[in-house]
Structure formats: C-alpha cells, structure tokens
Amino acid sequence: MPNASTGTPAGAVAPIANTPATVAEAVRADHDNPGPKPKGKPDAIRVPMGYHPNPRANIIVALTEKFREVLDVERVYVKVHDEDRVLCGDPAMTMLFPSADARHPMEMYTWHAHGPKDKGVRYGYLVADDVDAE
C-alpha cells in the first residue's frame, strides 16, 4: 500500500525534504543533543549576562580570573554575542563556521552545560574538522 501522506510506494523510503527549514532543524537537534561532554579544556566559554563569579570585582576581571586557567590561555578575549558573553583565547573566534566554509551556518562549537554550580555557563568545544567525513 502506498503511504497516504507522502505518496511513497509501499516498501520505499520516503524522500528526505532537504529544505532550509529541515536542515536547520537537524542542525539544531544536533546541538541540543551534542552527546557526551568531551574531555580536556574547552575552546570557548559562554556565560549569560547575569552571571557574575565575584560581584565585588569588575565583571570582566572576575570572568578572566575565573576562566583563564580553565581555557589555559594567556589572555581571555571577550565578545558579546546575543545575550551572552563569550570568552576565548582567540580574538578571531567565530560562533559559526565562516561564511566561505561549506559548513556555514553550522556552529563552530558544541556547547555543554558546565554544571549546576555555574548556572547557565556552557563550555564550547570546537567541532572536529573531519565532521563531514562522518
């Protein structure tokens, strides 16, 4: 019996609707379920605007002092992205793959919640370069 909703003959695999909406949904699903947290130091850290590890100090100084060793970098660069601050050792970091890259607009990092103690803080790990080979 053909599938009534797709018109696909019985036994055949329904074609994948490769529209921007479905691709975006798939990418979003991948990032909502990024799998187990990788080991090792994160490549970037994303903190919500309301997060302040030491309210007695300037927030950027406090974030730098708290996360410099975690990132294992000499200097922590801060960028404002949406409603978060993004900390990274590379001032040229980008949230997405560059516009000229075939993987654009996929995210450059997979983001993992750091833990209940630092609510809203997420550690970012660079997506492996061989992601297309999977």
Binding site: V61, T64, R68, K79, V80, P91, A92, M93, T94, P98
Partner: protein, 146 residues
C-alpha cells in the same frame, strides 16, 4: 589591579594585514574611538505612543584613530583586511595590569584624512570599517590584562 576602573590614553595602536602580515605600528596616538554602528527597529501600533517593541537588527562596527604619525597612517592600504590592536591603559598602572587590550579582526582602512595646521603638529585621522567572518560574531573583542 583594576580597582578604580578608570582608564586613560590609548597606546600601542597597530594594524596588520591578514592572515599574518607585518604590523604597521602607529605612535603619537591622540584619540581612538569605537563606534558599534548598531541599528535598531521599533514597533508601535494601536494606541501606542511609545515603542512597544524594539530590536537591534544590525551592527557595523568601525574604529577611528587620530595620530601624529601621519606617515604610518598613510602606509595602511585602503580596503585591505587586517587586524587592529590597541591598548587602553589603566589610569593608575599605565599599560600594566588593568589595561584593556582591544582587537578588531577583518578591519579595513576606509577614510584617511590629514590636517596640517600652520604652526601646529600635523595629524592624521583614519577610519577602519569591519566585517564579520561568519555574519553573526562581532569582529571586535577585548581583554583585561590581569
């Protein structure tokens, strides 16, 4: 040491072509300005007399610098992407801890004007425009020297 959160004098201004060219150092800096170039849209309807919704939809950051080293500013080519670095000194420690280091990637020199007043120092005024590598990440980042 950044207790006072007071800053003075931008120094160590440089521009280097991407991906990793030799930096052009600009000394004699008298002023640096960062303009985020943000644009917002607002909505109001029905009986609204004020905006009832507003969103920032665009950012187009630019950096301008004024400096006495006119020759260095003239050396920066127009329309070539590079990286601008400069340091905003902490008012107490001066260039030591507490200073803010600014970095702007994808920075292109656009305008370059020079004033040469009689009996006064010549001064160059250069404007850099930026673009984002991925369309969503700001090309400008900053770091506090701790």
């Amino acid at each position: 040491m950044a207790g006072s959160n007071r800053y003075i004098n931008a120094t160590a201004f440089s521009w280097a072509p991407l991906p990793s060219g030799v930096a052009i150092n600009v000394d004699g800096v008298t002023q640096v300005a960062i303009d985020p170039g943000a644009k917002s849209v607002m909505f109001k309807g029905d009986g609204d007399t004020h905006a009832s919704f507003k969103a920032v939809i665009e950012n187009d950051p630019r950096i301008s610098v004024r400096a006495a080293n006119v020759l260095a500013l003239l050396t920066i080519p127009q329309g070539v992407a590079g990286t601008v670095n400069f340091l905003l000194n902490h008012a107490k420690t001066r260039a030591g801890s507490g200073a803010i280091a600014f970095t702007a990637t994808n920075c292109m020199r656009v305008d370059n004007s020079i004033s040469m007043p009689h009996g006064g120092f010549a001064e160059g005024a250069t404007t850099f425009e930026t673009y984002s590598t991925d369309g969503v990440t700001s090309p400008i980042s900053y770091s506090v020297v701790v």
